[in-house]
């Protein structure tokens, strides 16, 4: 029995980790990973939406008419995104400003609608919750990895840009390799990471 949950959990986190394996939901991953704090904030926001929408959709799955289920899913997701958007503006304003338009755009993150359509719309509540957790964690992991690479190389810090939390890794004489903080660096870093993940998965024989 617990085996089913474990499988649901690790599917999103390892086997089908959306960013690296399915190439879904990449816009925010590329856009906000200039700093680790931004990446974690984005990851948590998206995960909160994913878990909530998975829960509600699977709880109400029998009430959504099949023909209009997609619009129903979208409304549910958009409702949670708006809530997250408002709460972030109220309680973490600095982060909210930095993430900007990418918070409302969680609505169209393919991972969330994808999980609703492929999983939560057909399965019981508890399994959908575990699935949401797994996929959300997978998303956060991807954001953290890319943000770590980009921030350490592109800014020479961790947990910036707020000078109170930022840790300068290489001292003051480090000249950051700016390209990694700029859009081209995001594409190139993710491309190389993707290659690495491909290689590791192949070596470990994970399909």
């Amino acid at each position: 029995m617990s085996n089913v949950y474990l499988q649901d959990f690790q599917r999103g986190l390892i086997r089908e980790i959306p960013i690296f394996r399915l190439l879904l939901g990449m816009c925010p991953v590329l856009a906000v990973t200039t700093y680790l704090t931004n990446g974690i904030g984005m990851g948590l926001a998206a995960t909160a939406v994913l878990i909530c929408s998975n829960l509600v959709i699977s709880a109400l799955r029998n009430y959504f008419p099949a023909q209009v289920r997609i619009p129903c899913f979208i409304v549910v997701i958009a409702t949670f995104v708006t809530m997250v958007d408002m709460m972030m503006e109220a309680f973490v304003p600095a982060l909210y400003e930095r993430l900007g338009i990418f918070i409302p755009l969680i609505v169209v993150n393919c991972i969330i609608l994808g999980r609703a359509e492929a999983f939560a719309g057909k399965r019981p509540v508890l399994r959908s919750l575990v699935d949401g957790l797994g996929n959300g964690l997978g998303f956060i992991v991807a954001l953290i990895v890319l943000a770590l690479v980009r921030e350490t190389i592109g800014a020479g810090t961790i947990l910036g840009p707020d000078p109170e939390t930022a840790i300068r890794l290489f001292g003051d004489n480090y000249q950051p390799m700016l390209i990694f903080a700029l859009p081209p660096g995001a594409f190139i870093a993710l491309g190389l990471l993707l290659g690495m993940v491909n290689y590791i998965y192949k070596r470990l024989n994970i399909k």
Binding site: T34, P65, M83, A90, A155
Partner: protein, 281 residues
Amino acid sequence: MREIIRLALTLFMIGLTSAALLTGVNNWTGPIIEERRKSDYLETIASYFPDVESFETKAEENGDSFDLIYDSAGNLLGVMGTILQGGYGGVITYNLAVDTEGIILGLRIISHSETPGIGDVITRESFLAQFIGKSHEDPLQPGEDVDLVSGATESTGSIIGSVRRSVGHIATSYLDFQAEIFDITVVPDGTFQGVAAGGQGDIVVEVVVEGGRLVEIKVLEQKETPTMFVLSYPIIPERMIAEQKLEVDVSTGATASAEGIVNAVRNALEKAIEEGEGEQR
């Protein structure tokens, strides 16, 4: 038919629930957001004017706004402007605090979209601190009075120019300093050349004066970006001739070029007066 009604009704119900929920959350977070904005703003004002009691906001047409800051006795403490300025990557918004003597107390970048790691030096303390203590009478020339940061000349230059104009604007519009008006009538007749720095190098102009009036202004040499230069030439010379003064509105979208032209004309006329006096002696 019945099916369609059922579908529409379900969707409608879901939408209604969603709207109701969001209204609830909005009623909860809305006041918090509003409160925080207000207190943040007051805090910014208080960091420059610790005795602030009340303020009065004057919004201007171009989007800038200026707050007149008063203490509890109703005395004017100074002015804080919230100013929009085009930078390299987009609009830069910043606060500029000026006391009643027309001296800069400080400035703070609120938002910008300059290139991270390059243009965002404008947010650094070391760059912004250079302005503190400068007054509306200081020339504030980039590279001389305030450092341009190499590699980010566009971003830093636009801030320097904007601060210079804004301090002048605050001083003349809100602090009752008289703008110094250049007296054209004392200029002897003749054709004069003048030079001043534009956005991308020197601008050389030729000015014709007859009977104490500006008659013609021609730009002889310039290295400005062509798309930018057309925004201020020939509009600025036309304005100067029409209004018969040098202190014309230079907000054209290419302010650096426009100011360059005005300064070059001023330079030409100043030289003309000096030479004229020399001849008389």
